[in-house]
């Protein structure tokens, strides 16, 4: 067994530098690497390109990095929950590359799986496809999308072990598995670091081979973005 554990978030982020491209898991605020984001804020690294489906909210998630103006460019599919984001984008301070959600996921997965590019129907005929190669297969048009290239991927899992094996919970899974192994270094933070052998090998969502560093996360807030309930009848 190859041991991937590091002692803390500081060790986990060793090597992160200005102007790097980072992938960050999560959908909305669900399943985001809270510890890594906090540490990025502390480190004050700037000029970052962040690949993340969303941009957090004003005071949580990637919103914290936006507040500090650490992000040069966002690659996301949906960013509509964040006033500071909108301000920076409209003022031109922030570069934004909007990418269809399924394309975003697959650009991660392509990087993980060694595919240089792929054809997807998403965005054909829209401004998303402008300047991109398109091609017909069986009478339908597709857009060629290249795999992402990133320096670090930060993912958050529910449980993990020293071998780097990960298990996610509910819809907090989302982009996290697709980002594992899609960057030069993948850092996993987990709510619970369990002993090796405690995870059923049949139920591991991401095998440790895709992970370079894993650590026990701390103080998860797991904020709910849209609390919706129904009445007990």
């Amino acid at each position: 067994m190859i041991n991937k554990t590091v002692n803390n978030v500081q060790e986990a982020l060793e090597g992160v530098q200005n102007a790097m491209t980072l992938m960050l898991g999560g959908f909305g605020l669900s399943g985001i690497p809270e510890n890594a984001i906090s540490e990025l804020v502390k480190r004050k690294v700037t000029d970052l390109t962040c690949i993340s489906n969303n941009a957090g909210v004003d005071d949580f998630g990637l919103g914290l990095l936006l507040q500090q103006k650490q992000i040069k460019k966002m690659i996301s599919s949906y960013v509509g929950e964040n006033d500071e984001f909108e301000r920076q984008m409209l003022s031109g301070e922030l570069e934004v590359e909007l990418t269809p959600q399924g394309t975003l996921a697959e650009k991660c997965r392509a990087a993980q799986a060694g595919f240089p590019a792929f054809y997807t129907p998403a965005g054909y005929g829209t401004e998303v496809a402008e300047g991109k190669e398109t091609r017909e297969f069986d009478g339908k048009m597709y857009v060629l999308e290249p795999a992402f290239k990133a320096d670090f991927a930060f993912v958050k899992a529910w449980k993990g072990d020293a071998a780097g094996n990960l298990v996610f919970k509910g819809t907090a899974r989302n982009f996290n598995p697709n980002m594992c192994g899609a960057a030069t270094i993948t850092v996993a933070e987990v709510e619970e670091l369990v002993p090796v052998g405690a995870l059923d090998p049949n139920n591991i969502h991401i095998p440790g081979v895709f992970i370079q560093r894993i650590f026990q996360g701390e103080n998860y807030e797991k904020r709910i973005e849209q609390r919706t309930i129904r009445q007990r009848s």
Partner: protein, 217 residues
Amino acid sequence: MLDKNGIAKRIAQEVQNGFYVNLGIGIPTLVANYVREDIEVEFQSENGVLGMGPFPFEGEEDADLINAGKQTITALPGASFFDSSMSFSMIRGKHIHLTILGAMEVAENGDIANWKIPGKMVKGMGGAMDLVASADNIIVAMMHTNKRGESKILKKCSLPLTGVGCVTKVVTNLAVLEVRNNAFHLLERAPGVSVEEIQKATEGTLVVNGEIPEMYI
């Protein structure tokens, strides 16, 4: 004339037994409330759940269980969770039978615009571009006109497109329209709405063939 719930109620009639359905944010989310209970249907949310149930009871909300609108939800027996890549495999691979989503504009050739108003609003397309590019059956839920009374049912979209030639049906507060052969074919009128009123509110080519029945809601 229908309100949002009325539109959702009418669209619910399009949901057939055995359908996997993806519901967009807004009016589409309401559709789940009106689907007949005697048919088997499963709702997919593209952030990674199939077999989505109603909102949770107070105190049972789980930050790890949300839908594509970031709302807390529940999962029904038989549900499954999966990653984003697999979620869009379902969508792109045409395993989802029906996509219901909102729009800012729809054109008579089936084009749809719903993600950007240049210079004003750019929230992003989320999963909408994947959905409309992949699904065979796309129903748009929307108001027939905007707040200034201008038609959103157009000859040609003026806003940046989400997808081309993809919309199959539009259900508005005024009418049910089928999009076919570069025209909106009027299928049903909303209760109390005349063909003339629909014609007036429609900028795109409207085809009216014979007697147009009123919706049964």
